[in-house]
């Protein structure tokens, strides 16, 4: 068996000593999103954290599908693959399995990743290939100029639904959890710090990381997430999940989430009815809890959870594959084609 690495005189082994700056991750391509698009911030945060993750840039690959968001790889000076609609996760799986040492990222949209690409996404998650999936959720099809998407709220009026959309939206986090994901998180374009920290967490996770990023499409769905991003409403509408910490939120940190039986409810910490000790304490490693928290998403009386819902360890597909290969080599010896061709029943004609 050959190893690709043999074929190329590589500095990659020493690459991690290189000190990068954000600029090093900016490609020479003009960024072509609409002015004001939330994608700009996500790109900026990604470029900002890249120098910190300790991976030489030639060992980083960004794979995407089709959509505004999927133009992302062009703007990062790493390896990049702008695939076809919905298939980024499958392409990325091939990249990672072929070269498990690469740091592989997928950028996809709510249409690309949850509509046409929904199946590859859920299969990637259960397989737990170590790929970081960034789903830019703007609750709209941007590139095709504004049709509703699988995450659009029901009743949404768009070009293709002048009377309002009829289908109930996916909650990406719940879907990912239902697909046995090992890392599920949510963040948003307009909180650079949080976004950066989640990107780093995703990178750090061994296995598929699924990150939903709320992203404003100011042209076709402006303000979809303003409740969670704008000063006036944000503090009372959002709850940050932090491992080991009780679930507190509100401008004055005066509200919390308590478990009533198995259903979460909002309680006030002010009126003496509940204290901090009654609150749910977040535990990223608990699958059941992660379901409960993700399920809060479309309940209007509940704050929207942001942060890491779940982060658990499970063997990665590529490691297991590598293990099988090593085991086979150990057991049978390295493959020899000449031998194989001549193995089994043969006969000779003089």
């Amino acid at each position: 068996m050959s190893n690709l690495i043999e074929n190329i005189p590589i500095q990659s082994q020493l690459g991690s000593n290189v000190k990068y700056t954000t600029k090093d991750f900016q490609s020479d391509q003009e960024v072509r999103w609409c002015p004001g698009c939330g994608d700009y911030s996500i790109l900026a945060q990604a470029q900002r954290i890249m120098p910190d993750i300790g991976i030489p840039k030639h060992q980083i690959v960004f794979v995407s599908g089709i959509g505004c968001s999927s133009r992302f790889p062009y703007y990062l000076d790493t390896y990049g693959f702008h695939g076809i609609h919905g298939r980024a996760t499958a392409i990325a799986s091939g990249v990672k399995l072929a070269q498990p040492d690469l740091s592989v990222w997928v950028v996809t949209g709510d249409g690309d990743g949850m509509s046409i690409g929904g199946n590859h996404l859920i299969h990637l998650l259960r397989r737990n290939i170590d790929v970081n999936v960034l789903l830019f959720n703007n609750q709209i099809y941007g590139l095709t100029k504004g049709q509703y998407s699988p995450t659009s709220e029901k009743g949404k009026i768009t070009k293709s639904t002048p009377y309002g959309s009829l289908d109930y939206p996916f909650n990406p986090a719940s879907l990912a959890l239902g697909a046995s994901a090992t890392f599920v998180a949510r963040t948003l374009d307009r909180d650079p710090k949080h976004l950066q920290s989640i990107l780093k967490r995703a990178h750090g996770h061994k296995g598929t990381s699924f990150v939903e990023i709320y992203q404003n499409c100011n042209v076709f769905n402006d303000g979809a997430f303003f409740q969670f991003t704008e000063k006036a409403t944000k503090d009372d509408s959002v709850i940050y999940l932090e491992h080991g910490k009780p679930l507190i939120f509100g401008k004055e940190k005066d509200k919390g989430i308590r478990l009533n039986g198995f259903s979460p409810e909002v309680v006030s910490l002010k009126e003496g009815k509940a204290s901090i000790h009654d609150l749910l304490v977040h535990n990223e490693t608990d699958t059941t809890l992660s379901f409960i928290l993700a399920d809060m998403t479309y309940h209007s009386h509940m704050p929207r959870p942001l942060g890491v819902f779940l982060s658990i360890e499970r063997p990665t597909y590529e490691n297991e594959m590598q293990r099988q290969i090593e085991f086979a080599i150990e057991k049978r010896g390295e493959g020899n084609m000449e031998k194989l061709l001549n193995s089994g029943e043969t006969w000779t004609i003089q």
């Binding site: 074929n7 790889p73 062009y74 990049g80 990325a92 799986s93």
Partner: protein
């Protein structure tokens, strides 16, 4: 025990037929392997239903396996058989038409009870009435004899019954003078941990042999001498196995990993199965969630420097359409093996056909040319797949490699190639960052560089939008688009400079040229040889390269009065021949889920000759 008479034959065709659960494929395969080891040339045709176990005793549940072997060159599994083993009435009903007049039938009488006769739709027992009078019928109660021979073993009768294929096999070994050892050896390995099954099968096999030897039933035995094949070391191989090995050999030669992204589908799944064994060759098999993930994961793997491959059959090829276009655009090596089966749609999943050629050539949106290559025989799959990989890597292009159900499941003796002497495959991995342009092309091949992630300084982006010449950046300009469309097209055309010219079998000119492609090779060859033996001016031209075509095809075609194009479809290659060379080629088309009989082609040639 009296010595039985031994009759020498140049060739023989036998067919095992029974219920899907009767193990006929296994018996056939064993007979084939033993026959191969004896040095006969041979060709096989497995033929089984689409259901896993179709209803027992019915005609729709019949599974058959035909083998044609000889001391002469064997090109087809035989138009008809000389000897039919019929495990039950339905098997007789379905297969009798393929038995030559005067041929022999070994009938398992237990399979002709009233229930079986009824299920098969017989109103009277053909073993009892006159209907088989033109054949030689040997009635053997195989079921009972099998159970009897296992009496001491205390097996369940169900288990005992399962061994009856070995009784039939034993008889046939005796009849055709073949040794038991290869099968005994196989049993020992296969059932190493299941001693009762092993033991039972061994006993029954021997009982079958002894039955031939001791009873008076058979008056004659047959001997078929080894074939006068080219000297060298041989093995028997099926098309699907040869395909798997061809991929592995190419990857090894190129010193890169093989990555197979595939989704199971009949009759291609065995390639996936075969490749998944060879983890010690570094082969990575990925059973994807569907065909689209199969091909796109393979494209991803190719991007990362592996030899990406995907294997499928018709409906799966349809699903890969969009991704094939992507592969054309990103110009990465990729092997797509399509084991054709009966269509359209789900069609006839276990039957063979050649009706995906035009799809392979044109089934993509936009101008998306790619090489299409087809195998002619089971063992040829190895060479054709290897050649596909050579072209894919050298020209940085996806290649569609066409085989079919008949080739994939069929087998033949194969002169084992010398691995060292296989053509070199040298991936030109770019490593130098200086002056690197992702879409700068090799002057001769027009291939772009293979610049894989992990290589410092070559960071770049590719994708399915039109690319700017040289830089590969997204570009929507009119002139650039035209240039790129034409460059991609010319790259594929230039492959014609890099492949051997076509060789004609027979005279360089004449009355009829039979132009074929794919698995019809053997039948055409036989038909043409028969005509040539009669002194007719008939030649054969067999195309492995369907796109681009070899450069001398036009010249060859122009030297014949009539061009005949037999195909297992309604006429696909013929469209290309007519369009490219403007000749009034004539088609011979059969769409029955089965290969051509040599005779069918022979008759058509006759017609054309008489027409002159």
């Amino acid at each position: 025990m009296r010595e039985k008479k031994i009759k020498n034959l140049d060739e023989a065709t036998i067919r095992f037929a029974g219920d899907s659960g009767d193990g006929m494929q296994l018996a056939g395969t064993q007979f084939t392997n033993t026959t191969a080891i004896l040095g006969n040339d041979l060709s096989t045709l497995p033929d089984y239903p689409a259901e896993i176990r179709a209803p027992q005793g019915t005609t729709s549940g019949v599974s058959g396996f035909q083998i044609h072997f000889g001391s002469t060159e064997i090109n087809t599994p035989g138009d008809s058989c000389d000897m039919l083993v019929a495990m039950n009435a339905a098997a007789l009903k379905v297969n009798l038409h393929s038995l030559i007049k005067g041929g022999s039938i070994i009938a398992n009488t237990d399979g002709f009870n009233d229930k079986n006769l009824k299920l098969a739709g017989y109103s009277s027992n053909p073993l009892k009435d006159e209907s088989l009078s033109t054949y030689q019928v040997f009635e053997v109660d195989i079921t009972k004899l099998t159970i009897t021979s296992l009496q001491e073993m205390n097996l369940s009768s169900k288990l005992a019954d399962r061994s009856k294929n070995f009784f039939a096999l034993g008889m046939m070994y005796w009849l055709y003078d073949r040794p038991l050892e290869p099968t005994l050896k196989w049993l020992a390995e296969k059932f190493a941990n299941k001693s009762d099954i092993r033991e039972a099968n061994i006993r029954v096999l021997k009982a079958g042999w002894n039955y031939g030897e001791t009873t008076e039933l058979f008056k004659v035995r047959y001997a078929v001498a080894p074939a006068r094949l080219a000297p060298g070391k041989y093995r028997n191989i099926t098309g699907n196995q040869a395909t798997a090995w061809g991929l592995m050999a190419a990857a090894q030669k190129a010193k890169i990993d093989l990555f197979l992204g595939s989704y199971p589908i009949t009759p291609a799944s065995d390639i996936l199965h075969e490749l998944s064994i060879y983890k010690n060759f570094g082969v990575k098999t990925f059973q994807a969630e569907d065909e689209i993930a199969g091909i796109t994961s393979a494209i991803g793997a190719s991007f990362a420097g592996a030899l990406g491959a995907t294997t499928t059959s018709g409906p799966g090829l349809s699903l890969k359409t969009e991704a094939l276009g992507l592969a054309v655009m990103v110009e990465l090596p990729l092997i797509v093996v399509n084991v054709q089966r009966g269509g359209p749609s789900t069609g006839l999943p276990t039957k063979t056909e050649q009706a995906d050629l035009l799809q392979a050539l044109y089934g993509r949106n936009g101008e998306a040319p790619l090489p299409v290559i087809a195998a002619a025989t089971p063992s040829d799959c190895f060479h054709v797949v290897y050649e596909s990989a050579r072209i894919a890597i050298k020209y940085m292009t996806p290649v569609i490699c066409l085989t079919d159900g008949y080739l994939g499941n069929g087998s033949e003796p194969w002169l084992i190639p010398d691995y060292e002497k296989l053509p070199d495959i040298i991936p030109h991995f770019r490593t130098d960052p200086i002056g690197f342009l992702p879409y700068e092309r090799d002057e001769i091949t027009l291939a772009r560089p293979w610049a894989i992630p992990g290589t410092p300084g070559l960071e770049h982006r590719i994708g399915g939008l039109e690319k700017q010449n040289l830089t590969g950046n997204v570009n929507y300009e009119a002139a650039n688009h035209e240039l790129m469309v034409r460059l991609r097209s010319e790259k594929i055309e230039r492959i014609a400079n890099d492949i051997p010219t076509a060789e004609i079998e027979g005279d360089r000119q004449g009355d009829v040229l039979v132009v074929g492609w794919g698995s019809t090779y053997g039948a055409i060859k036989t038909a043409v040889q028969r005509h040539r033996a009669k002194g007719h001016h008939v030649s054969q031209l067999h195309l492995r390269y369907l796109n681009p075509m070899q450069k001398n095809i036009g010249a060859i075609i122009s030297r014949f009065k009539t061009i005949l194009v037999p195909e297992l479809n309604l006429g696909q290659l013929i469209k290309i021949i007519r369009a490219d060379y403007l000749v009034p080629a004539v088609g011979l088309n059969k769409v029955q889920g089965a290969p051509f009989l040599a005779e069918e082609i022979e008759v058509k040639i006759d017609e054309l000759i008489k027409g002159h």
